[in-house]
């Protein structure tokens, strides 16, 4: 008998983009992580001294990186949104399904994803406001930030909310990239989770300290 034949599926070009888009989604996420860490360290440097933060900020502005890089990051941010949004259930029916699914399943990783998708939406709005606010009011100086915060308590609340959300979203994103792409296998999964938990705690800690540093900074 002859058992021949090869796979011959109709090729849809649109479908063939899925893999590339998946890369782009991952890379945009990684790019944002890199940026966020840099950002955290930059702003966090105020903990050491406001002068250091000012110097770093000045460097970025003088070299034009803030003016050019800022909008680029904003673009990356939007690109990441567009890419990741392919996976967010926007239809009510799907939202209901995934919500019920998560409630039923008692499964940590499924909840992680729900948390990631919902933090995403908040970050989208708040992040955009933040970027617009900062980039439309260059230069970045520690004192000015402190003033802004102190003048309007809402800004403090705004950042106290945004920072943890970003770090949680980022941490989960990191974890999920590692398991999705197999950088962490079955054996590493537990350790990775613990690492990400610590990472989130430390990052949130730094961010909150930074905010309070601004809050108590003498004008």
């Amino acid at each position: 008998m002859s058992l021949s034949s090869t796979a011959n599926h109709p090729t849809l070009n649109a479908r063939r983009m899925d893999g590339v888009l998946d890369w782009a989604q991952m890379l945009s996420g990684v790019g944002l992580i890199a940026f966020m860490w840099a950002h955290m360290l930059l702003v966090g440097s105020v903990l050491l001294s406001p002068a250091i933060m000012n110097d770093i900020a000045e460097f970025f502005e003088k070299s034009g990186m803030a003016q050019v890089g800022g909008p680029l990051i904003f673009l990356l941010f939007m690109a990441h949104f567009v890419l990741a949004a392919r996976k967010i259930p926007f239809r009510l029916e799907n939202q209901k399904t995934i919500w019920e699914h998560a409630k039923l399943l008692h499964h940590a990783d499924t909840w992680l994803w729900v948390v990631q998708a919902s933090t995403a939406m908040v970050i989208l709005i708040m992040g955009a406001i933040h970027m617009w606010a900062v980039l439309s009011d260059l230069p970045i100086v520690a004192l000015k930030c402190a003033e802004t915060l102190q003048k309007n308590k809402w800004w403090l609340a705004f950042y106290l909310l945004l920072a943890p959300l970003v770090h949680v979203h980022l941490g989960i994103g990191l974890y999920r990239i590692a398991v999705k792409w197999g950088f962490a296998g079955r054996a590493e999964r537990k350790g990775l989770k613990r690492f990400v938990n610590v990472l989130i705690l430390v990052s949130v800690g730094i961010s909150v300290l930074t905010l309070f540093r601004f809050w108590f900074m003498e004008a």
């Binding site: 893999g19 792409w181 296998g185």
Partner: protein
């Protein structure tokens, strides 16, 4: 000493115009070594003979008895009541077509999958009854078997958030099936052929890495590793195709 167990079971018979989906409770005395297989059969034989559910091998090898047990998809036949609280809620697996009560149609779902992924060895060689078999390293055979062990119970599909939102998603079991042929030296399909099948959001790129599949699989199939491996492999093929043209 024996506990009295309360089973809350999803009831609905689509063939009965008077039936509506609802939960029904049954109470049973727990006995030694009681499994859900024993409990459900007793409920059927002693309390409600119309109760529908599926068992076959009752030894955890055929994959018939997947259901949602206190929230988690699992095999009912190897679930001991001893390991559950006294309140036990049983639901049919989601994603699959409901037949009635706890019984779902996994057969049609998987049959369609075989056609989609062409789950057979593709070769131009013709079998020669007079010739000795082609040789294969035992290690290779074992690694194929490792991926061939899936019993198609559907638990990973039912636990998968992606599968619940997208009906065309192949699920971990489907993607793993492709992996099984991909590593089989007898299958002459190329990476490109496999890419055509799973290199999409219906396949590996649709997977969001929630790993519920890995966590519920009663056979402990290496799904996480397999999904990661295939995403990298297919990801590379995607880039090759993208930049190659």
């Amino acid at each position: 000493m024996a506990r009295s167990l309360k089973f809350n079971i999803f009831r609905y018979n689509p063939q009965d115009s008077e039936s509506t989906p609802h939960m029904e409770s049954f109470v049973l005395e727990e006995t030694d070594s009681m499994t859900l297989f024993i409990a459900l059969n007793r409920i059927r034989e002693e309390q409600d003979p119309s109760l529908q559910f599926d068992f076959c091998c009752r030894a955890g090898i055929c994959g018939s008895c997947g259901m949602v047990i206190n929230g988690r998809p699992g095999l009912a036949c190897h679930t001991k009541t001893k390991d559950l609280p006294a309140d036990i809620t049983l639901l049919p697996l989601p994603v699959f077509q409901l037949v009635g009560d706890l019984s779902v149609d996994t057969g049609s779902w998987f049959r369609e999958l075989y056609d989609t992924v062409e789950s057979w060895i593709h070769t131009k060689k013709v079998f020669d009854p007079a010739a000795p078999e082609e040789r294969m390293e035992d290690e290779v055979a074992e690694s194929i078997y490792e991926l061939d062990r899936c019993i198609e119970c559907g638990c990973c599909i039912a636990a998968c958030g992606t599968a619940r939102m997208r009906p065309d998603f192949l699920g971990a079991a489907g993607i793993n099936k492709v992996g099984r042929f991909l590593i089989d030296p007898r299958d002459e399909r190329t990476e490109q052929d496999y890419y055509e099948i799973i290199g999409t959001d219906m396949g590996i790129f649709g997977c969001m890495g929630l790993l519920a599949c890995e966590d519920v699989c009663p056979k402990h199939m290496p799904l996480q590793n397999q999904l990661g491996f295939l995403r990298r492999k297919m990801g590379i093929t995607a880039l090759k195709n993208f930049f190659g043209k």
